[in-house]
Symmetry: C2
Subunit: 356 residues, 2 copies
């Protein structure tokens, strides 16, 4: 059966980098992967064209797709939009929610070839390989009630941080399973000394633990986790946490590698449908200049093959091709230094294609 | 008028480190500082003695004090307390709330003598000097409603992230004033692309800005702030943010220095009353062994002199004494390496006293 892949280039460098990822998808197709590729608008680009960051047509296509490849959304021209429902980010949040993409996988992996790029000392980060499992469709991002209203003569802003047992259990299982496939260490991050919602989180994680006796579960407060990521990140294997803490910690963890232009991510629902996107943003300042790093997006295709299309072999080939290109010292501007060879976005894409 | 100082040693290494800080306070007294020192119980120690982490007597003494010096609270023996109102942390949160200590100042300062201790590359952190201003009595730490309850047959945990304009304005002013005394750069951290409460936060910060034309205000999303702290922390001067984000970011920032045993903090209310405490925790594993680092607590006394007792000169003298002791290569175990001289908690305290 033909797999439907929807590409959502989005804003900023989104079109530049997804173009290179599409080359790899097409190469897979030539090798016999049965896929069909479509494109649609999302984010600021969709707002400009249709007045909505997540047009109905895009949502319908997304629902019908087996997997989605997203570039990036957002840019300064939309930051001042009064109606926040129209902001580019809402396109992304809408897709996550509508498709039920609750399981967000964010690896923080240090490529040995890029060890220099890290702001941390080599011995602290060499060999770093963390997987952050972030809950993506609940928590304070979506909790009700929310808003800004007048109370006793002044305005008050409020949001609700809420999780049900079922939501916690569901993401917990994803994390335990992930730990099983890796080094069998799972650290659940919460703020159970202050927030009731995370006390329930901790309790549910504890309750799941006996079902995964081969996985060593630990708990850490979020402030300590932020410290430990800076101090000794290699102590972690898999981290599981809620939407907001996951947003913060996964970005911190990604930055430990010094090359966020390298890091892919996956967002999965219960049916195995997934959205795949680079961890970095839309970098509007360098959009359309053919200088952005397409590797995170290309590696997102590898995640797509592994997690949604059940093609781990092809996934591995893409990952090895990327590693080989790095070995040959080709670098986009963001990861270039001293003796490496600086290449453009499309040259990088072509190099991966050749090594594939 | 005699200033009343209340010392709350608390748990774990709390008694070890506050004992050294008291030596310095007494030295100031000898030099003419008109103070009166009292002690009381808080945290787990108070729970064990009186069944309450914040006994009424302690609260009354705290309210009557001009300044409070706190050691640290918490320990594994109290982590399993079913009634969370009895946990050691509640003593701390109760003091903050009851005294209205909304303005939390958390410096992240790298002592040049300890540059080696950082997990970051020297060029990334040398000269690091950030002040994080964290709102401490509002936000999700104290928002109502909160709890765990049954809904549709399953348990749900919830907390409320809430700020009023007045609360935001109050902490904003503290931050702008602080920036004025430093390098006039203020970065307000929020998640205004997702959370309404932080949209209001950003709006109020913007509204205050024209009153401080000499301060350059910028805004950053919390996920990006976590990344930027890892990537290039020296871009920051003063950071202002809410209670939860402040908890996470201030710990990450502190850890950039690699020597959290050095970092003091202040928590102030509108009357200038303050509670002063080290940023590190109660380290129960080394409690009572006379090996903990007392410098963060001694530097907390310096903050007390500067912010609550209006004795900037004495504060400066303590800070210089600490720096001098570091110059002479004395180190407690946590900051010792290679060619330095390892000393105990009390030896370190005595050395500072001598240099004072
Ligand atoms: C753009 C924004 C809404 C989003 C988030 O906060 O989830 C982004 O930071 C991310 O982590 O994917
Ligand atoms: C102990 C805990 C309640 C406290 C907090 O979260 O505020 C601590 O982490 C801190 O930062 O002072």
């Amino acid at each position: 059966m033909t797999c439907k892949i929807l590409v959502l280039p989005g804003d900023g460098i989104g079109p530049d980098i997804t173009a290179e990822a599409i080359k790899i998808l097409k190469a897979c197709q030539k090798q016999g992967l049965d896929i069909e590729i479509e494109e649609a608008l999302v984010g600021g680009a969709a707002y400009d064209a249709e007045g909505d960051p997540l047009p109905r047509e895009t949502l319908l296509k997304a629902q019908a797709a087996d997997a989605i490849l997203l570039g990036a959304v957002g840019g300064p021209q939309w930051d001042k939009l009064e109606d926040i429902a129209k902001r580019p980010e809402r396109g992304l949040l809408g897709l996550r929610k509508e498709l039920g993409l609750f399981g967000n996988l964010r690896p923080a992996f240090l490529y040995p070839q890029l060890a220099e790029a890290s702001s941390l000392k080599a011995e602290v980060v060499s060999g770093l390989d963390i997987m952050i499992v972030r809950e993506l469709t609940g928590g304070i991002y979506f909790g009700q009630p929310r808003g800004i209203e007048e109370r006793d003569g002044q305005r008050v802003g409020f949001n609700t941080y809420v999780y049900s047992e079922a939501e916690i259990e569901r993401i917990g299982r994803v994390a335990f399973e992930m730990a099983r496939k890796r080094n069998r260490k799972l650290c659940s991050v919460d703020k159970a000394n202050v927030l009731e919602v995370t006390m329930l989180w901790r309790e549910v994680m504890e309750r799941l633990a006996p079902e995964y006796p081969d996985v060593e579960l630990s708990h850490m407060y979020v402030d300590n986790a932020a410290m430990q990521l800076v101090r000794a990140p290699k102590q972690f294997d898999v981290i599981v946490t809620g939407n907001m803490f996951g947003d913060i910690l996964s970005d911190a963890a990604a930055m430990l590698t010094g090359s966020i232009g390298m890091l892919p991510s996956a967002s999965l629902n219960e049916k195995g449908q997934g959205m795949f996107e680079p961890c970095h943003g839309s970098a509007p300042d360098i959009a359309g200049q053919n200088i952005a790093n397409p590797l995170a997006t290309i590696l997102s295709v590898a995640m797509m093959l592994r997690y949604s299309l059940d093609e781990p072999e092809l996934a591995g080939r893409i990952e090895r091709a990327v590693s080989q290109v790095l070995d040959s010292d080709l670098r986009t501007a963001d990861i270039a230094y001293a003796d490496t060879r600086k290449v453009s976005t499309s040259e990088m894409g072509d190099a991966v294609l050749e090594a594939f």
